[in-house]
C-alpha cells in the first residue's frame, strides 16, 4: 500500500506497464545506470500514444490533467517497474514554462515535439561562477535586429550531448539588481557557435556537460515572455515542481533493492545478512524514516491540492530529507554487498549486456555507480544548505 491511496488507478497503471514495457528494458533501467536514450525514446512514444507522456500538463496542451496525487502514484509505479524516465528537463521544466508564459507559436511548435519525444531538452542555468548564486550569471545576449547574439558558458548541463534544445537564462541587461537583467531563451543546440564538452562524473558516467556559446544567433521569437523578466519565470518554474524533489520512488526502490541484496544466500556466512538482527534493524530504521518521509510527501500534496498551509516550508523539507535518505540507503546497499561492491562495474559494460565473466555478484551491478552519482543529489536543484536557509527564512519571518 502506498500512502497516496487510489488503488484502482494504481492497478490501471500497473496493467499498462505490464503490457507495454519490454522486460529487458525494465531490468536494464533497474540497474541504476544513467538513462539510455533509445529506451527513453521508446517509452516516451508508448506513453504519448496512451496520452500519458505529459502527465503534469493540463489537458488542453495534451497533458493528463491529473491531480498531484495521481502523478505521484504514476511516478512511483513507473519507477519501481523499471520504466525509463521521460526527459525531465522537457516535461517538467521547459514544457510548463512554454504553456504558461510562451506565445501561441511557441506552444504550437514545441509542445507536441516534447510529448512525442522528438525534442529532448537541456537546462542552461548554472555557470562556473553562478551556482547557488544563480542570479550572478554572466552569459550575455545582445540584441541585434530580430536576433540575440549569445556569448558565454553554461555548466552542469545534464544530458546536453543528446538533447536537441537548451533553455537558458541569459543576461540582457546589467542595469539594476542582478535578478532584473535576465531573459529566458530557447536555443537550438545545433546552432552554429555551440560547443558541448563532456564532464565525466565520479561514477564514471557522462551525464554532465559544459556548453559554450560563441556568437550564437537566437531569433528573438525564441524568447519566452518579456525581455529582462526571465528570473521571474525561472522562479515560477522551480516553484511548480516543488513536491517532485522528494525522490520517494527512488528511495523505495533502493530500500527494496537493499533488502534483496541482504536476502541472498551466503550474504553472511552460509546464511543471509538480513537474518542478522543488527543489519535488519538498521535497514528497518531507514525504512521507517522513508515511511515518515513518504507520509510527509502525501500530506504536503494533500495540502497543495486543498490550497491550505501554502506558506509552510515543507516542500524544502522534502528535498532535504529525500536526498539525504537516498544517500544513506545507498551506503547501506554497499555495506550489504560487502566485498562484492568493490569491483568497478562500468556503465558502458553493464547498460546493455553484462559480460559473462563479470566479477562479484550480479546483485552489485550499478549499485556503487548509483551511490556515487547521487552524491550530487544534495547539491543540485538548490543545494541542501540553500534549502535549509529557505526553511529557516520561512520559519523565522517576523
Amino acid at each position: 500500500m502506498g500512502a497516496l491511496g487510489d488503488e484502482e488507478f494504481r492497478a490501471e497503471v500497473r496493467a499498462f506497464i505490464a503490457a507495454e514495457l519490454p522486460s529487458d528494458m525494465a531490468s536494464r533501467t533497474l540497474l541504476g545506470y544513467h538513462p539510455h536514450k533509445p529506451d527513453v525514446e521508446f517509452w516516451t512514444a508508448k506513453l504519448d500514444k496512451r496520452g500519458w507522456a505529459a502527465l503534469n500538463w493540463p489537458v488542453e496542451y495534451g497533458g493528463t490533467g491529473w491531480s498531484i496525487t495521481k502523478r505521484h502514484i504514476f511516478d512511483e509505479e513507473c519507477y519501481l517497474a523499471g520504466c525509463p524516465a521521460v526527459n525531465p528537463q522537457a516535461f517538467h521544466l521547459v514544457g510548463p514554462i512554454i504553456y504558461a508564459i510562451g506565445n501561441e507559436a511557441q506552444k504550437n511548435f514545441f509542445l507536441p515535439k516534447i510529448r512525442s519525444g522528438e525534442h529532448f531538452w537541456a537546462q542552461g542555468f548554472s555557470e562556473p561562477n553562478a551556482g547557488s548564486d544563480l542570479a550572478a550569471l554572466q552569459t550575455r545576449a545582445v540584441r541585434e535586429d530580430d536576433e540575440y547574439i549569445v556569448n558565454g558558458q553554461k555548466i552542469w548541463t545534464s544530458e546536453a550531448q543528446y538533447c536537441d534544445w537548451v533553455f537558458c537564462l541569459v543576461r540582457t541587461s546589467t542595469e539594476g539588481r542582478k535578478q532584473a537583467g535576465i531573459s529566458f531563451l530557447l536555443v537550438d543546440l545545433k546552432a552554429p557557435g555551440i560547443t558541448i564538452r563532456p564532464i565525466i562524473g565520479i561514477e564514471g558516467g557522462h551525464v554532465l556537460n559544459e556548453v559554450f556559446f560563441e556568437d550564437v544567433r537566437v531569433p528573438v521569437a525564441n524568447r519566452i515572455g518579456e525581455e529582462n523578466e526571465g528570473w521571474t519565470y525561472a522562479k515560477q518554474l522551480l516553484g511548480a515542481e516543488r513536491t517532485f524533489s522528494a525522490v520517494v520512488p527512488r528511495c523505495k526502490g533502493l530500500a527494496v533493492r537493499t533488502r534483496a541484496i541482504a536476502s541472498r544466500d551466503g550474504s553472511k556466512g552460509r546464511g543471509k545478512l538480513i537474518d542478522d538482527p543488527h543489519f535488519a534493524r538498521r535497514l528497518a530504521q531507514l525504512e521507517i524514516e522513508l515511511m515518515a518521509h513518504e507520509a510527509t510527501l502525501a500530506r504536503v500534496v494533500a495540502e497543495e491540492e486543498a490550497g491550505v498551509n501554502q506558506h509552510s516550508p515543507t516542500p524544502s523539507i522534502l528535498k532535504v530529507k529525500g536526498t539525504e535518505l537516498l544517500q544513506k540507503l545507498g551506503a547501506l546497499a554497499i555495506e550489504a554487498l560487502g566485498d562484492s561492491a568493490i569491483p568497478d562495474y562500468p556503465e558502458a559494460d553493464y547498460l546493455l549486456d553484462p559480460p559473462n565473466d563479470a566479477p562479484g555478484a550480479p546483485a552489485a551491478y550499478g549499485v556503487v555507480s548509483d551511490f556515487l552519482y547521487h552524491r550530487s543529489a544534495t547539491i543540485y536543484g538548490g543545494a541542501n544548505e540553500v534549502q535549509r536557509n529557505i526553511i529557516a527564512a520561512q520559519l523565522l519571518r517576523a
Binding site: R270, I334, E385
Partner: protein
C-alpha cells in the same frame, strides 16, 4: 598499554621523505604500480615496521602507519599496506629464511583470506585443504584481493578442521583480476583442487593470521586517515577561495560549522589510530583485535563523513572525475565497504569486550 602521541624524530623524517616523493603525483591516476613497488622496496618501506631481529629496520607498526598515511594522502594505488606491510610480514614471520627476497620486494605477496559473505567473521574459513598423494590441494573462493601479487598466502580449513596457511604462486593461481571502483587492482580467486605449499598449521597459523588481519585493519585505517586529511585540506582551501553571493563561501556560518565538524571527525580518526597502534604493539591478542576493530570502525565513520562533506562543500565540481576530491571519497567508500563495514567492526568490538 603504551601510547605514542608524538612522532619520533625518525618518524617525522620518514613522513617528510614519503610526502616529498608523493607530492608531484596525480591523485586521480593509478600510476605505474611496478615502479612504485620497486621504489618503496628500495626505500625500505616494506621493512620499516619490522624490528632488526626480524630482518627489518628496527621500526614498528607506527613507522609503517606513518608511511601508510602519506600513501593515503596521495591515493597511491599500489598495495604497499596489503602486500608490503601485512602479507610480507606474515610470510617473513613464517619463513625467516626468505627475508632478503621479501625485503627487496622480490616477492609481492597478498593475503587471500576473505571469502564472499565472510563479513569479518575471520575464522569462518570455508576453503578446504585436502591431502592428495602427499601434496596439498585447495578448493574454495577468496575475494577482495587487492594488489598485483606474485604470491598468494591462502588460508584454508584442514581435514582436522584446524586453520592452515598455504602459499600459491600467482602463476599457478586462477586469479580473476578487475579494476576496483576506486581505481585499484582487485581480484578474486576460485580454487578447484589447486596445488598449494603448506606454510603453517593449527594454532600458530591461526595466531599469525589474526595478527596479520589486525595489522591490515589498523594500517589501512592509517591510509584512510591520509586520504581524509587530503580531502579536508582541499576543502579548507576551497572555502577560502570560492566566492558566491559576493563573498567567500567560507564566510557562511553553515559552512564554517561544517568544516569545524569535519575537523572534529578528522581528529577523532587521528586519535583512534594511536589506540590501534598501541594494540598492535601490545602482547594481548584479544585486546589487539578489540582495538583494531575500534580503529577500523571509527576511522570508517569519520572518513565517510569527512570525504562526503568534502564533496558537498565543493558543490558541482566535487562530483566530477576531473577534480581530485571525489577520488578520496571513492577510496574511503571502498575502505568502508571492506571487512564487513563499520557496523560489523563495531559488533566485533562488542564481541571482544
Amino acid at each position: 598499554m603504551e601510547l605514542h602521541f608524538l612522532p619520533t624524530e625518525e618518524q617525522a623524517m620518514l613522513r617528510d621523505s614519503v610526502r616529498r616523493w608523493a607530492a608531484g603525483r596525480d591523485v586521480r591516476a593509478a600510476g605505474d604500480q611496478q615502479v612504485d613497488w620497486a621504489y618503496g622496496a628500495e626505500q625500505g618501506w616494506l621493512m620499516a615496521g619490522l624490528p632488526e631481529e626480524a630482518g627489518g629496520l628496527g621500526g614498528s607498526d607506527a613507522d609503517s602507519a606513518v608511511i601508510a598515511e602519506e600513501l593515503g594522502r596521495a591515493l597511491v594505488r599500489t598495495g604497499f599496506v596489503e602486500s608490503g606491510m601485512v602479507a610480507a610480514q606474515l610470510l617473513l614471520a613464517i619463513a625467516p629464511e626468505r627475508a632478503e627476497e621479501i625485503a627487496m620486494g622480490g616477492v609481492q605477496p597478498v593475503l587471500a583470506h576473505d571469502e564472499p559473505g565472510m563479513r569479518a567473521c575471520y575464522l569462518n574459513v570455508t576453503t578446504r585443504a585436502e591431502n592428495v598423494e602427499g601434496g596439498w590441494k585447495l578448493s574454495g573462493r577468496k575475494s577482495a584481493i587487492v594488489g598485483t601479487p606474485t604470491s598468494l598466502v591462502v588460508s584454508a580449513r584442514m581435514p582436522d578442521a584446524a586453520v592452515g596457511l598455504f602459499e600459491i604462486s600467482a602463476e599457478d593461481a586462477p586469479l580473476r583480476s578487475y579494476e576496483t571502483f576506486d581505481g585499484r587492482t582487485g581480484g578474486e580467486l576460485t580454487l578447484e583442487a589447486t596445488p598449494a605449499e603448506l606454510l603453517l598449521v593449527g594454532k600458530p597459523a591461526e595466531s599469525a593470521l589474526l595478527e596479520a588481519i589486525d595489522r591490515a585493519l589498523v594500517l589501512e585505517s592509517a591510509e584512510a586517515l591520509g586520504a581524509m586529511e587530503a580531502a579536508f585540506d582541499m576543502t579548507r582551501d576551497y572555502l577560502m577561495t570560492r566566492k558566491q553571493y559576493g563573498q567567500l563561501i567560507g564566510e557562511f556560518q553553515a559552512l564554517r560549522h561544517r568544516i569545524a565538524d569535519m575537523f572534529i571527525e578528522l581528529e577523532q580518526a587521528r586519535s583512534i589510530l594511536v589506540i590501534g597502534l598501541g594494540g598492535l604493539a601490545g602482547s594481548n591478542p584479544q585486546e589487539r583485535a578489540r582495538l583494531a576493530a575500534a580503529t577500523r570502525a571509527r576511522v570508517a565513520q569519520a572518513g565517510q563523513f569527512v570525504c562526503g562533506q568534502a564533496i558537498q562543500l565543493h558543490g558541482g565540481i566535487g562530483v566530477t572525475d576531473e577534480y581530485p576530491v571525489g577520488h578520496f571519497f571513492k577510496r574511503i567508500t571502498a575502505f568502508a565497504a571492506r571487512h564487513g563495514g563499520e557496523a560489523r567492526q563495531v559488533e566485533r568490538f562488542a564481541e571482544l569486550s
